[in-house]
Symmetry: C2
Subunit: 229 residues, 2 copies
């Protein structure tokens, strides 16, 4: 988990691949909430397979999952003896569709072309800002929000927080659902509730892609301060 | 196969369910190229599971597969003892997501909301025309194209043709790829090639959704006549 969406934890991945590969295993990474908002060096970090979503830090509509596979993963795929149970998610067929396989591209499915155009444009927007500048913006906005929250006595739950998702402890005495409802109805701000064992204990504030701005950070801080009063 | 997209064959389904059910089996139907263009009585015909696509006769962007399950299929699903291998395509989880399961809706995935809005609008357009009127239009346009093609000595391959997809024999002496290339480059008309054993022997002319019009039928007839000269 490079980016743990339900807890807001950020897991640095340097060094993991060496450990994993020394045991003969492959490293698969969940980067749904980090791609486009956090540094992510797929090859340098030795990642064998990685997947993300379009709807988080890329600010593209939801509906596609960008994926990438390295040479180790492809070698395992090529050596596979058993049939893949799913036609839809058979990556060996998707590979022939997208990259061809000696004999050229092999039809697999009708492409969701509008989503593909949307992703293309979203990536253009990322490049217009510059990927490094975008990652730096996510960090800066996270630090701005963090400083404001900590000044209000609110603490972060994960030891190392994602810049795109801020998972904080609900202040003592605050009404979980009531606060979120007022933020939504009075300010048009939706923050996430805690999940599983963190239900009723955590709030999750997303600062992803085009939403990660000074305006939004300052608005959520002001709104939260008002509602908590 | 209610609608066989690669051969243009239309399979009437009345009576099939009785036979299938008498053997203790379920009837699953492919209606990718018929939904919105052909009569399709899911409950009346005793269909247990059916799937389609948004990009054919519904004239919606590609990216979603409308599906429906009847009581028999749901009972089998509920009695299942083995784990579904795919999370993504686990219909029991999708069911809890879309319809709730006693305890309300259970989160499964981030919905492709733009596609959902697109489908909603496409269905509105279907209802504005009227489903029966739309189906009648598909039949009328098919008959118009058929009359024109047969007047040119061109014959249909399937005994019973889809109205949405016209699979015809390539006339003797005609250049398969060259004809399709000229239709595309000179007239902006793309017709499909034959697939598998029908490669080089068949052409497939789609008349689906908003494309099934007098203008398009007459244009393709004129263009084909000119190119074949």
């Amino acid at each position: 988990m490079h980016a743990e969406t339900s807890t807001g934890a950020h897991q640095p991945l340097e060094g993991f691949a060496d450990l994993v590969h020394s045991k003969g295993a492959l490293l698969i990474v969940d980067a749904v909430t980090s791609l486009g908002g956090h540094e992510l060096k797929v090859d340098e970090w030795g990642i064998d397979a990685i997947y993300s979503g379009t709807q988080k830090c890329l600010s593209c509509p939801p509906g596609l999952a960008p994926v990438s596979f390295g040479d180790r993963a492809l070698a395992i795929m090529d050596a596979r003896k058993t049939k893949v149970q799913s036609w839809y998610l058979d990556v060996s067929m998707l590979r022939k569709y997208y990259t061809g396989g000696g004999g050229g591209r092999v039809y697999h499915h009708t492409a969701p072309i509008n989503m593909t155009y949307a992703l293309h444009e979203a990536l253009n927007i990322v490049l217009e800002e510059g990927l490094e500048a975008r990652i730096a913006r996510h960090e800066k906005m996270h630090l701005r929000l963090r400083a404001g929250l900590e000044a209000m006595g609110i603490s972060y739950i994960p030891k190392r927080s994602l810049h795109s998702l801020n998972c904080i402890s609900i202040p003592t005495g605050a009404d979980d659902a009531g606060t979120r409802k007022r933020l939504l109805e009075e300010y048009g701000i939706e923050i996430g509730s805690g999940l599983g064992v963190m239900a009723g204990k955590a709030w999750r504030i997303g600062l992803m892609g085009h939403g990660s701005t000074v305006r939004n950070v300052d608005l959520v801080l002001t709104a939260l301060r008002e509602v908590l009063k």
